[in-house]
């Protein structure tokens, strides 16, 4: 705000600064106000949008075929011709890293969506059908006591490496966390007077869920989904890195790093570029999640 607003120039009425103040309040509401109030949210969203742009328009961003093998140009250092250098098969790393954004984003978003949906259903059933609750929760406890990465690795051992299998494996590992969150929200909401009132008034359970429970679970669920997205991206990269994820025919940041593993002491850039993109994307999603938490769930934001 301008300092002049506070002084009262000779001859002006006391009330005069008021019109100046009003637009200032108004400007905090719009798009730019949102950015000013939630800088982490804006920063995260901006980087994520850039990554989505890169993933969608990868073929048009001066890339070549990311799988084209050329033995004549193996292990070239980054240069004007090969921006990120080439790998041990002579494939262009710039193209591979840009195309790799597709895998990370698809896996991250799909897992966030699927795990939230499945976890929501499990959590609602658990919170409302009391007979099923203890059984469901024991199963969730069991799944949760297997470290998530190990669980995903074990599931991947059953099938061949492909994007859809990675998505399913990581989703299964993430469901219990969502289910627990939803269940705890449901259990606390059930104690609320207005839900009691609805039950007393004879409202049917599906309607109570739809109008009273679901809207209240939405905010924590969205926040949780963003964290799941970030952790799914990391898990995918880890799976691909140890050779249990996306096969090398589809470039992903994890498997590019896996191929750079043999040479990392001499050709560090093969590992560096996919690592930087992966970290930046996960950082963006995490910042987005923190921002969403501050915006949608102020009570939770205060406690963390």
């Amino acid at each position: 705000m301008n300092a002049q607003n506070f002084v009262n120039p000779a001859g002006t009425a006391i009330a005069a600064p008021l019109p100046d103040v009003l637009p200032a309040v108004k400007s905090r509401r719009g798009f730019f106000g949102l950015i000013r109030r939630y800088p982490t949210l804006a920063f995260g969203a901006a980087i994520l949008l850039i990554m989505v742009f890169i993933a969608v328009f990868a073929p048009m961003l001066w890339t070549v075929d990311p799988t084209a093998i050329a033995t004549g140009r193996r292990n070239r250092e980054p240069s004007l011709l090969y921006w990120f250098g080439t790998d041990m098969f002579g494939r262009d790393l710039y193209s591979r890293v840009l195309y790799g954004a597709r895998v990370s984003l698809i896996v991250g978003f799909s897992v966030a969506l699927l795990a939230s949906a499945a976890g929501l259903v499990v959590g609602l059933v658990s919170g409302f059908v009391r007979i099923a609750d203890s059984l469901i929760m024991r199963i969730m406890d069991g799944i949760m006591s297997i470290p998530p990465i190990l669980l995903a690795v074990a599931l991947m051992a059953l099938t061949r490496g492909s994007m859809s299998n990675v998505i399913i494996a990581v989703t299964i590992a993430e469901i219990p966390r969502v289910a627990r969150l939803v269940r705890s929200v449901v259990l606390s909401l059930r104690e609320q007077p207005y839900v009691d009132a609805a039950i007393a008034a004879g409202t049917r359970t599906p309607k109570i869920i739809l109008t009273h429970i679901l809207p209240n679970t939405l905010a924590p669920l969205i926040v949780q989904a963003s964290y799941i997205c970030a952790s799914a991206m990391i898990t995918e990269a880890i799976l691909s890195f140890i050779g249990a994820g996306i096969p090398p025919s589809t470039p992903s940041w994890g498997n590019i790093m896996a191929e750079g593993r043999a040479l990392w002491q001499v050709k560090f850039y093969i590992v560096l570029f996919p690592a930087a993109f992966l970290s930046l994307t996960v950082l963006a999603v995490n910042l987005l999640g923190d921002g969403l938490r501050d915006m949608l769930d102020p009570r939770m934001a205060k406690s963390v």
Binding site: A230, I238, G243, S279, V282, L283, N286, L287
Partner: protein
Amino acid sequence: MLLYVLKRLLSTIPVMAVVALFVFSLLYLAPGDPAATIAGDQATPAEIEKIRQNLGLDRAFVVRFVEWASQILHGDLGTSLFANMPVRTMISERLEPTLSLLIVTLFLAILIAVPMGVIAAWKAGTLIDRAIMAFSVFGFSVPVFVTAYLLAYVFALRLDWLPVQGYTPISQGIIPWFANLVLPAVALGCVYIALIARTTRATMLEVLQQDYVRTARAKGLALPGILFIHALKNAAVPIVTVIGLGIALLIGGAVVTESVFAIPGLGRLTVDAILRRDYPVIQGVVLLFSFVFVLVNLAVDLTYTLVDPRIRY
């Protein structure tokens, strides 16, 4: 108290049963026919069938599960499909490096993270607090193998301060053992440090607003004493809880860290087993790690009374 311990011990049984059922289904659903694998390429269908009957593979799921579970309870984890060795022997041979890595990481992380969280809470809103919180966001975002490669590149390759890769058994001296573990432990510990520091800060912020903290300040007690004795003691329960839960992160991360630093531990064993589809080994490792994780969290529950005498069972 004893009753509570018993109750908690009993409550881990269904959890471990779910884990066991899951791990068994893994072998049951695994593609490929173990009988055909054992019989070899030259075997006739009749021979394969005979081996199948000998192994009991033709029996019902439940029967096989019960038999398998009783084997596990007797400490028999089966035999590797490739190494022709009991899984138990393979695991115990690889146990030391992984255990060393996990323990060193645990200690380093707690020693770094708790003071970080306490200072961030004390200096809440200042530059130090923001720097620590920013570090924690980065800790959550940078995957363990990225940190691992960066650390190895800078401190081992460029500066040549520490060995690049490998593992030295503790029997060959503490110093070489530790020197080999520093980089992997720091890399592995980053997420863990971020997690613990965040929780420490959040709980300390609450505790520092309590009246007894103000009283302690007013009567002139030294600040470090207030922060690390009075306040930290009262903030301990959530911190200890998150330390226990975070073990899952460490176990998952160890698989990757061992690959990067060429540490011949359980993580490497897992990765090799995945690539060769050696299901009994995968089973054994998953079972063992889950068991450890459940036990650690049981232990954490029981320490609540130690860190906070107000909690009684």
